[in-house]
Amino acid sequence: MKKKNENILKVFSKINLHYLVLTFLIIVMAISMSMHSRYFLTITNIEVMVNTFIMEAIMALGMTMVIISGGTDISVSGVLPFTAIIFAKLMLQNVPIIVAMLVALAASGVIGLINNELRRILKIHPMVVTMAVQLTLRGLNLAITNGSVISGFSAGFQKISEFRLFGLSVPILVYIILAVVFYVFSKNHKSFLSVYFVGGNKEASAFSGMNTECVLRWVFIINALLAGLAGILSTTVYNSASYSFGQNAEMRVITAVAIGGTSLTHGGNGSIAGTLLGTLFMALIYNSFVMSGISTYYQDVFTGAMLIIAVLLSEGTRIVKEKSFKQALGDS
C-alpha cells in the first residue's frame, strides 16, 4: 500500500499540477480574448500588455526570492518612487546618466540593507519592518519633491525611452535578461539554493555552516535593488518622476508571486518559473479588462477570486505532494 502512495507522490513531484492549470488558464483567457477583440493578438497589444505590468514583473523576481527566504518586503512601493526621484533629481543636475543610475541604485540598495538590519536588530517580522520603511519612504518622497512631479530632462535622455532592440523597449530587454538570470540561478546556482535552505530551515542552514544572516541581507538588498531599477526605468519610460509612482505596487507584486504558487506560509516553497507564469497571468487579466471594456471595477473582484483559487490550487498540490497534517504527525 505504501509503495503505491510513494508512486503517486513521485508523479506529483515530477509534474506540477498548479503550473499546468495556470498555463491552461492563460491559454483559455488568451483564446477567449482573441475571439472577443480583434486587437488582442496584435503585436502592439502584446507589447502594451507586457509594458503595462513590466515594473511589477521585475519586482516580482526579487519578491519571489524574499518570500522563498521566508520573509516579505512591502517597502518596494516606497523604494520605487524614492529611487526614481533621486535619479531624476540627479539628471536635472546634469550628472552623467551612468553615475546618476549607479547612485540611485546604491540608494535603493541601502534601503534594502536598512530593511534587513532593522529586521535583524529589532527582531520583528520583516513585514512590519518593511511596512514602517514603506510609510516613512512615502513621506520622504513627498517631502523631497514637495509633491510636484520632476521632469524636463535633456532630449538625449528621452532617446532612452525610444531605444529599441529587435523592436523591444529597454524595460522589456532588462526584464528578459533578469528573468533568464533569475531562472537559471534559481535552478542551478549555489547562492539561490542557500536561499531555499534558509527559507526551509534557518537553524539547520546555520548548523550546516551557512551564514544565514548574510544570505538574508543579500536577499533584501537585491529585492530593493530591483525595486530601484523599476523606479529608474519608470523615469525613463514616463520621462518624469513623481512620488505618486508605484502606489500599491507591493500588493500587485505579491499577488503575482502568490498566484505563481510561491507559498507565504511555508518558506522555501516556490519557484521563479511559477512567478513568471503568475506575472503573465496578472498582465493578461489587466489587459483583458481594458480590452473587453468590462468596468475595471469588476477587475478587483475578479483578481481577488483568482488569487484565492490559484493559492488553493497550489496548497492543494503541495498537500498532495507531502501528506496532510495528521499523516505528517502520524509518521513521526
Binding site: 500500500m1 505504501k2 502512495n5 510513494e6 507522490l9 513531484s13 537559471v184 542551478n188 546556482h189 549555489k190 547562492s191 539554493l193 542557500s194 531555499y196 535552505f197 527559507g199 526551509g200 530551515n201 537553524e203 539547520a204 542552514s205 546555520a206 548548523f207 550546516s208 555552516g209 551557512m210 551564514n211 511555508h266 518558506g267 522555501g268 516553497n269 505532494k321 507531502e322 501528506k323 495528521k326 504527525l329 502520524g330 509518521d331 513521526s332
Partner: protein, 501 residues
C-alpha cells in the same frame, strides 16, 4: 598525544554557568560516550566543539596544536562533524541537496553539477548500506530516515572527529544496529566518535570509554570494564538509585475501560483488537512505523478509523476530535513535546491548564484564574517540577526533563480515565525518568488505565503489566509481563511478525 584535548573549557549563558573548566583527552580511533542528566552540559560542550558556540575560556588541542573555531565552517575545516539532537535537515529540499548543503559540487561560476551531486549522494548512502533516491524530498521521509540523512550529511565530509548527539532517539532498532556497525567501521579507520545518549544499554554496548558530566562539571571517565550501570548512574545523579523501576500493579482484575475491536486505519494499521484494564499499564512496543502512534491517534480522535470499533466502558464511541476524546476521559501525551505538546512561549500555568480549560471554568465561559493557579501549584509540587516557583515562567526556560513533566501535568490536570503516553521519557535524563515512571505507576494504582508507547524495551519491561507488540501495522501479540525477557518480545516482534523490510 591524544587526537582531541579539551583543556579547562568554561561557558556560561548570562548568569548561569553551563560548563566549568572541563578537561578531557579523547583518543584517535575510540568511541567515547558522554552521559549526564539533561542540563549537565553535554550538548553545550558538543556545540562548542562543533563551533556553534564559543567557549568563554579554555582551549582545544587537535593533535597537540591549539585550534580556534568561530563558526561551524571552522569546525568542518578541522575535520569535526556533528549530528545534532534536534533534526537539522531542511525538509523542503531533496536528500542530495541536504547531504551536500553548502558544499555542493559546482563549476567555477558556482553552478551546481546535479549529476555528480546525485551520484555522490547515492555512494554516500551505499556506505551505510542504504540505497535511496537522491531527488526525493526529505519531508516525504519518515523521521527516522530524516535522521539518517542527517547522519550521512555529516559522514559525507570525511571527518576525523564525529559527534553524535542522541542520534538514536528517533531511530528504529534496525536503523540503530546499522548505525552502530557503521560507527565500529569508522572507529577501525581511526575516527574519533563522540557519542551522546540517555540509553545506558547502548552506551555499554558500543563505547570504549564513557565520560560523565553533572551540572557542568566533569565527574570522571570509565574504561570499558568499569561500565556498571549502577556506577554510571551514581556518577550522573550523584546519589544511589537502587531501584530503577517501580513495582508492578497490585491487582490485575480491574474492569476493562477501553477496548478496540479489529480497529483499522488504511495504510497505517490493521485489525488491532486490544483490551485495556483499569489500574494497569499496557506497554506498547514496536519500531518506528509499526503503526503504534497512528493507533494512538485514532484512540485519541486525532485521526479517523476505516474499520472496527472503539468501546469505552463497554459502549461503542465515535471519536471525531481530540476535544471529544478528552471529554470521554482519554488523554494523549504526544511524543514530540516541542512540536505537538507544549506551548513553549507561554508560561507553565497556561501549559498545565491547556487541555482542561473546561474544568477550571467559572460561569459564562470565563476562566477562574485562582483555580488554574491552584491546579498548577498542585502539579508542580506533585511532579517536583523545578524551579518550584516556575508557574509564571515560560516553558522555554525549563530543562528538557522539567518540560516533559509540565507536559505530563497538562494531562494529569485533564483527569483522564485512559492516558496514552507516547515515548514519555524520550530525551529525558535518568533522574526525571525514574520520577516519571513512578508517577505513571502511581496513576495506574489510582485506577487510571495507562497505555505506554515506547521503543525502549527495558522501559517497557520494567514498567508495564501487559505488553502489546506491534509490527508493520499489525498487533502481533499481547504478552502478560511476568518475567518477560527482551529476547521473547523481540522474537515476537521479528520472527512471528516476519521481518519483511
Amino acid at each position: 598525544m591524544s587526537l582531541l584535548e579539551i583543556k579547562n573549557i568554561s561557558k556560561s549563558f548570562g548568569s548561569n554557568k553551563v560548563l566549568s573548566n572541563i578537561s578531557i583527552f579523547l583518543e584517535k580511533g575510540e568511541i567515547h560516550s558522554f552521559i549526564g542528566e539533561n542540563g549537565a552540559g553535554k550538548s553545550t560542550l558538543m556545540k562548542i566543539i562543533g563551533g556553534i558556540y564559543q567557549a568563554d575560556s579554555g582551549q582545544f588541542l587537535i593533535n597537540g596544536k591549539e585550534v580556534h573555531m568561530q563558526n561551524p565552517m571552522d569546525a568542518f575545516r578541522e575535520g569535526i562533524g556533528i549530528v545534532h539532537q534536534e533534526l537539522s535537515v531542511a525538509d523542503n529540499m531533496t536528500v542530495a541537496q541536504n547531504v551536500f548543503v553548502n558544499r555542493e559540487p559546482t563549476n567555477a561560476l558556482g553552478f551546481i553539477k546535479w549529476k555528480q551531486l546525485n551520484e555522490d549522494t547515492v555512494t554516500e548512502f551505499k556506505k551505510i548500506g542504504i540505497d535511496i533516491k537522491p531527488d526525493t524530498l526529505v519531508k516525504t521521509l519518515s523521521v527516522g530516515m530524516q535522521q539518517v540523512v542527517e547522519i550521512v550529511k555529516v559522514l559525507s565530509r570525511d571527518v576525523k572527529i564525529l559527534i553524535l548527539d542522541e542520534p538514536t532517539s528517533a531511530l528504529s532498532d534496525k536503523e540503530i544496529s546499522n548505525l552502530f556497525e557503521l560507527l565500529l567501521k569508522l572507529k577501525e579507520s581511526g575516527t574519533l566518535v563522540i557519542f551522546i545518549s540517555h540509553k545506558l544499554k547502548e552506551i555499554k554496548q558500543i563505547s570504549d570509554r564513557v565520560s560523565v558530566l553533572r551540572d557542568g562539571n566533569f565527574i570522571g571517565t570509565l574504561e570499558k570494564d568499569e561500565m556498571e550501570e549502577s556506577t554510571i548512574i551514581r556518577m550522573m545523579v550523584g546519589r544511589e538509585i537502587d531501584n530503577l523501576y517501580p513495582p508492578k500493579a497490585k491487582s490485575r482484575d480491574g474492569e476493562i475501560v477501553l477496548e478496540t475491536r479489529r480497529l483499522t486505519r488504511n495504510e497505517k494499521y490493521l485489525d488491532v483488537s486490544l483490551k485495556i484494564k483499569k489500574g494497569e499499564i499496557t506497554g506498547m512496543f514496536g519500531l518506528v512505523g509499526s503503526g503504534r502512534t497512528e493507533f494512538a491517534y485514532s484512540l485519541f480522535g486525532a485521526d479517523g478509523v476505516d474499520g472496527g470499533e472503539i468501546l469505552l466502558n463497554g459502549r461503542p464511541v465515535r471519536l471525531k476530535s481530540p476535544k471529544m476524546a478528552i471529554r470521554y476521559g482519554i488523554g494523549y501525551l504526544s511524543e514530540d513535546r516541542k512540536r505537538t505538546g507544549l506551548f513553549v512561549g507561554m508560561d507553565v500555568k497556561d501549559n498545565v491548564v491547556a487541555s482542561s480549560l473546561d474544568f477550571i471554568m467559572a460561569k459564562l465561559g470565563f476562566l477562574d484564574d485562582k483555580k488554574s493557579e491552584q491546579v498548577t501549584e498542585e502539579y508542580i509540587g506533585q511532579l517536583e517540577i523545578r524551579p518550584s516557583n516556575c508557574s509564571s515562567l515560560t516553558v522555554r526556560s525549563l530543562s528538557g526533563g522539567n518540560q516533559q513533566k509540565v507536559l505530563l501535568a497538562k494531562w494529569l490536570a485533564a483527569k483522564p480515565e485512559v492516558l496514552i503516553v507516547d515515548e514519555p521519557t524520550r530525551g529525558v535524563d535518568v533522574g526525571a525518568k525514574c520520577k516519571i515512571h513512578s508517577i505513571l505507576r502511581a496513576l495506574a494504582d489510582s485506577g487510571i488505565a495507562i497505555i505506554m508507547i515506547s521503543s525502549e524495551l527495558p522501559e517497557i519491561l520494567g514498567l508495564s503489566d501487559q505488553v502489546a507488540v506491534m509490527h508493520e501495522g499489525r498487533l502481533i501479540t499481547v504478552l502478560e509481563n511476568d518475567g518477560l525477557t527482551e529476547e521473547t518480545v523481540l522474537a515476537h516482534a521479528f520472527l512471528k511478525g516476519g521481518d519483511n523490510q
